[in-house]
């Protein structure tokens, strides 16, 4: 509920700014000005073409790693409890579990690294 409130308020602020621009700003257009700006030259071709798949790769990687990272939040919060075994002794359970998880993550990272999917080369 407070989040919704904040979103509503922020959207209102953004809309108010835009409304200011629409209402107050003067209008004086001409065909030259309405062209897309491409360093003063006539644009060649359309910017709506299919662009390189490398940009999508990053997005996919992000999804993979971010969702994996999301699994870590509950673990981090519950780490204290996970580290105390049923007999009150220190338990390695939580640590080892996450170590395995991170290791798998690292293997994935190494694979992606090796496949040169990160960066642009």
């Amino acid at each position: 509920m407070p989040a919704g409130l904040a979103i509503a308020f922020a959207l209102g602020l953004g809309a108010a700014f835009t409304a200011l621009a629409v209402l107050i700003g003067p209008k004086a257009t001409n065909p030259e000005k309405l062209k897309p700006f491409e360093c003063g030259s006539e644009p060649i071709g359309s910017p709506r073409g299919r662009y390189s798949v490398k940009f999508y790769q990053v997005a996919i990687l992000f999804l993979v790693f971010d969702i994996e990272a999301a699994f870590m939040y509950p673990w981090a919060v519950l780490y204290n409890k996970l580290s105390i075994g049923p007999n009150g002794m220190v338990s390695m359970f939580g640590f080892v579990e996450m170590l395995t998880f991170v290791a798998i993550l690292l293997v994935a990272l190494a694979y992606v690294w090796r496949k040169k999917a990160i960066g642009w080369e």
């Binding site: 904040a6 922020a10 621009a21 700003g25 990053v58 220190v90």
Partner: protein, 402 residues
């Protein structure tokens, strides 16, 4: 009376206070500070002319002039853009940062009925918060949105800021803008991961994702949260550096300003002008303030003034548990009334945020810009493994010394 306090405690009031009383002025001032500060670093004077009659103030009024100029500029939309998305993009850039502020505890809890008393933390802990009357009733918590998933909310919301740049780039029907938008999204995504993971060490130590909890408890229950040694910067220095790096990257400012990269591609807002461009700009500066606020909250003790406990300055105290609350007691105490403590704590928060903003500007004007692939490499190949290592090492140490 309690209706007044109810209004004051209403999240909307807090948001309005936070945004219009704290964030917007600070962000606006930053636009001036950036120019003045960079000038000072570069042996220049910087803007110092904006004045209203005799009021000069070293050009601080510049931000007003900026705002007025942007509002009265032509609302110019090129012919070939996608109008709806074009108008939506700046709003999308601005909204998430403003929303994300709701999780930041920007001050201590205020007990309006005991404003002029010296606060007794034991009595506070023993008091029943549900009681309608009494010294601790009508408490106003200086945090709009207190939830257990606190910082995850921040990550989630800030990811939305991605859309602003990307949609602006696509909607502009301009190849440079498109490139800027693509760069913006891939950069934000790359650093999002490292940013989330870098804080994991803090969560491990604190055992909570709630920023208010982290501020109120510090790293160790054996020390007062007001003790600077109990703040996370000492316990998670690697995380601090990683988070600072990743979050500067999230603000898309130098050295990570490749989505704008003025001399390369002009940026995703090439086609924007006036207040629409100003919204991107404002979002960027608000983000600086926000990053500072998060770092202050998580790593630098938030609103905690060094050695200032709720009842006054204390040296050499110890912690006791009272009704499930850790309370700092004993030691050499210099008691202060509640209003003085609260003001000092507000001031401490503001000062820390301003100092971190200053530091971010300092970095921005010191370092050259990365290249897109180097930026990716830094994010994926350095920050991500380092943050994973930081998590596991923190976990291991915690296991050993538990």
């Amino acid at each position: 009376m309690s209706i007044l306090y109810a209004i004051l405690d209403w999240p909307g009031t807090k948001w309005l206070f936070l945004v219009f009383g704290l964030v917007m002025p600070l962000a606006s001032l930053l636009t001036w500070a950036e120019r003045r500060q960079s000038a000072m670093m570069q042996d220049r004077l910087g803007p110092n002319r904006a004045n209203i009659g005799p009021i000069k103030l070293k050009g601080i009024l510049h931000f007003i002039a900026d705002a007025v100029k942007m509002i009265f500029k032509e609302d110019f939309i090129p012919a070939s853009v996608h109008r709806g998305l074009f108008a939506l993009a700046p709003i999308l850039a601005l909204v998430p940062v403003l929303v994300a502020f709701s999780i930041i505890p920007f001050g201590p809890t205020i007990y309006p009925h005991s404003l002029f008393d010296k606060l007794d933390p034991f009595a506070l802990a023993a008091s029943d918060p549900s009681m309608p009357l009494g010294a601790f009733a009508d408490a106003i918590r200086m945090q709009m949105f207190q939830v257990d998933f606190g910082l995850v909310f921040y990550f989630a919301v800030l990811t939305l800021a991605n859309y602003g740049g990307t949609i602006a780039g696509w909607a502009s029907y301009n190849k440079w803008a498109l490139l800027g938008g693509l760069r913006s999204s891939s950069q934000m995504m790359s650093y999002e991961v490292a940013m989330g993971l870098s804080l994991m060490g803090v969560f491990l130590i604190a055992g909570s994702l709630e920023p208010g909890w982290i501020v109120g408890h510090g790293a160790s229950p054996q020390m007062s949260p007001a003790n600077p040694l109990n703040w996370m910067w000492l316990w998670q220095p690697v995380a601090l550096v990683l988070f600072l790096t990743a979050s500067i990257a999230e603000t898309k400012r130098a050295p990570f300003d490749i989505p704008e990269g003025e001399p390369e591609i002009i940026g995703y807002f090439v086609e924007y002008s006036g207040i629409r461009w100003g919204m991107f700009f404002l979002a960027e500066f608000i983000e600086i303030v926000f990053i500072s606020a998060v770092i202050v909250t998580v790593f630098l003790g938030g609103y905690q003034f060094p050695f200032l406990d709720p009842d006054g300055f204390r040296v050499g105290g110890y912690m006791v548990q009272e009704a499930g609350t850790a309370i700092s007691t004993g030691g050499l105490v210099f008691k202060l009334p509640h209003w003085a403590v609260s003001s000092l704590q507000f001031g401490a928060f503001g000062l820390k945020v301003v100092l971190l903003c200053w530091f971010q500007l300092m970095i921005r004007w010191t370092l050259p810009r990365f290249r897109a692939d180097q930026l990716m490499n830094l994010g994926w190949k350095l920050l991500l493994p380092l943050s994973l290592a930081n998590i596991m090492i923190t976990a291991a140490i915690k296991l050993l010394f538990l």
